[in-house]
């Protein structure tokens, strides 16, 4: 517990819109040890990005609002920190890589300026020194330093994401949150960027939360995996546990949706149905309308997260009942 760098407890985030209140994150718990990599997996709209932005306290407000919860980073609750304290954490101790490199760089500033800016703010260096350091960072992500005077539109998508990575890592953060860092890139570039991130993460001994919907990427990079559905973590396990023995019907469904070369399956089994309407979540277990193993109780009772052994956490009534009936014996 004490060597946890990040502890998110019972986080609840709502977006209040004209069409209703969107319950984006719904009592979420995550913990992350120093140096660990956590994969946060889930469909679009599961609340992954909202969770990440909550850690940096960058939820756009309005319409977003953190209703409840605690986010401990290095033992300090970030939700109680002042704006000034947060500024010293953002980009310095926690940084973030965003999904779309095409839009996450400022079009009217040179990439050098954009990397140097964070360095200047957090490391107390003057403009010139910051720029020198920025050029080093560029070289580190594989871009010649001469290009620091160029503007974002002069770079390709993959190159832009390298610049974004350089910005994120320029102050040796303790925690890096990467939000679908490769989704917007070509497949060939994806691997390069992923390798680069992994190398740099090792080099700086950074903890990481990798947000993705791609289990393949998780398998390559992460130590632990949290599966997210409708704003909750429904399964939390080590990489090995999850890949060898997925427990939650949703997680099993995710594996059923990807082709497997080793097993001989006639056809893929996609998860039926769609993500529930976040303004009107189903009662009981939020997954029950889509769950192939749903029972009558799933419509009524909300499951709680339980440990099925070796810290493999699952939030599903199927396992709750097993442990309950075992306890009854």
């Amino acid at each position: 517990m004490d060597n946890n760098i990040l502890d998110i407890k019972d986080l609840k985030v709502n977006y209040i819109t004209d069409e209703g209140t969107v319950q984006a994150v719904n009592g979420l718990n995550i913990s992350l040890k120093k140096g660990e990599s956590l994969g946060l997996v889930g469909e679009t709209g599961a609340g992954k990005t909202t969770t990440a932005l909550s850690v940096l306290r960058l939820i756009p407000n309005p319409p977003g609002k953190i209703e409840n919860g605690e986010i401990y980073f290095e033992g300090k609750n970030l939700l109680e920190a002042s704006e000034e304290e947060m500024r010293h954490i953002r980009g310095n101790k926690i940084s973030m890589i965003f999904q779309d490199p095409m839009t996450s760089l400022n079009p009217v500033m040179t990439v050098g300026e954009q990397i140097a800016e964070g360095i200047e703010i957090h490391q107390g260096l003057d403009k010139q020194k910051s720029m020198e350091k920025a050029k080093e960072m560029l070289e580190l992500v594989g871009i010649p330093k001469e290009r620091s005077v160029d503007f974002p539109h002069q770079f390709s998508g993959g190159m832009k994401q390298r610049v974004v990575i350089a910005i994120a890592l320029s102050c040796n953060p303790l925690l890096l949150i990467a939000d679908e860092p490769t989704t917007a890139l070509d497949v060939t570039i994806q691997a390069q960027v992923l390798d680069l991130m992994n190398d740099l993460k090792e080099k700086f001994d950074t903890s990481m939360i990798l947000i993705t919907h791609d289990l393949g990427i998780v398998a390559e990079t992460c130590d632990k995996v949290a599966v997210m559905y409708a704003g909750e973590i429904i399964e939390f396990a080590t990489l090995e546990q999850l890949f060898t023995e997925p427990k939650h019907p949703y997680t099993k469904g995710l594996f059923g949706s990807i082709p497997n070369l080793e097993e001989d399956v006639d056809r893929l089994k996609p998860i039926r149905g769609l993500m529930p309407d976040p303004t009107n979540l189903p009662k009981g277990c939020t997954f029950h309308p889509r769950c192939p193993e749903a029972k009558e109780t799933c419509k009524k009772r909300e499951p709680v997260s339980i440990d099925t052994g070796n810290s493999h956490m699952v939030k599903c009534l199927l396992y709750e009942e097993v442990s309950q009936s075992e306890g009854a014996k």
């Binding site: 977006y15 819109t17 069409e19 969107v22 319409p63």
Partner: protein, 301 residues
């Protein structure tokens, strides 16, 4: 958060005819929710009614233009709600007859501009290439002349009467409409339903009338509403410097210009017609802004 609504809306512009009606009722529904826009619409309706029934409310020959030295420069009273001017004419009566001129010039001028500018813009956008280049360069030249100057020059050259006034203001707002229509034609032109129409052998004219114009309508409606406001301002401006409707016809700009000499002792002559202009333009702007939001929810903030 609005992207769902936007795509739905987009889809309904694409599938035509039957869904067209539901799209317009959707626009109306959104417009109704906008209190400011509805306020604008109510004010405009009242103004139009006043203008239409101006003769019933106050006779043109007997009240609006008949001079009466006995009651000149009187302030607001029971007999003359908004007072009288320097020639003893009832200002309220003149204002409602003035509303006729303003609204008529505004609407006719914008119609001229939409007709000519819209056609030019549609041709330029639809055919592209050299035609586009020639038309739009010509429009650029027009745009280089500040529109009120152009209108002044046209009225100055053609002579001062109601028709020339409408023509001058209409012509000077042609380039704006040409640009807007061209832009929306360009975005519609390459969409699949137009290609589909072409694939089944629809003629150019048919494609323009059945497909392109309905889809270019939204920005034209918005710009048209705001354009009427601009035209009314120009009319008042031209009348103010004595190049508008010939006297003794009451026109708001001319009325407040007449009041200038009496600003010290009878400022109501100047104040009230000005307020009429402000209220009219305000109402048109409110409605125009509301229409823009209702027609394109993606732009709403």
């Amino acid at each position: 958060m609005n992207s769902d609504v936007a795509t739905k809306n987009n889809a309904s512009t694409k599938t035509k005819s039957k869904k067209k009606r539901s799209q317009w009722s959707e626009v109306w529904r959104r417009l109704k929710q906008n209190k400011m826009a509805m306020a604008g619409l109510v004010i405009l309706t009242i103004l139009v009614l006043l203008a239409v029934f101006a003769d019933v409310i106050a006779d043109y020959d007997e009240v609006a233009i008949k001079q009466n030295a006995a009651v000149r420069l009187q302030g607001p009273s029971k007999d003359h709600w908004l007072g009288t001017d320097n020639l003893g004419r009832d200002i309220f009566a003149r204002m409602i007859h003035g509303a006729r001129i303003s609204l008529m010039v505004g609407i006719v001028a914008v119609s001229i501009a939409i007709l000519i500018g819209g056609t030019l813009g549609a041709i330029a956008g639809f055919y592209g290439g050299k035609v586009d280049n020639i038309i739009m360069r010509f429009m650029d030249v027009f745009l280089a002349i500040p529109s009120i100057l152009l209108a002044i020059a046209i009225v100055g050259a053609l002579g001062q009467n109601l028709f020339n006034l409408m023509l001058a203001i209409g012509v000077s707002s042609i380039p704006g409409f040409a640009r807007i229509v061209r832009a929306s034609v360009l975005t519609v032109k390459d969409q699949e339903f137009v290609e589909a129409a072409r694939a089944i052998g629809a003629t150019d004219t048919r494609i323009i009338i059945k497909h392109i114009i309905p889809n270019a309508l939204a920005p034209v409606i918005v710009q048209g509403t705001l354009g009427v406001a601009g035209a009314i301002l120009s009319t008042a401006g031209l009348s103010f410097i004595g190049l508008g409707v010939p006297k003794p016809r009451p026109e708001w700009g001319a009325m407040l210009s007449d009041g200038r000499q009496f600003l010290r002792n009878a400022s109501h002559i100047t104040t009230f017609p000005g307020l009429a202009i402000v209220i009219t333009i305000l109402a048109l702007n409110l409605l125009g802004d509301g229409l823009r939001d209702a027609l394109d929810p993606r732009l709403k903030q």
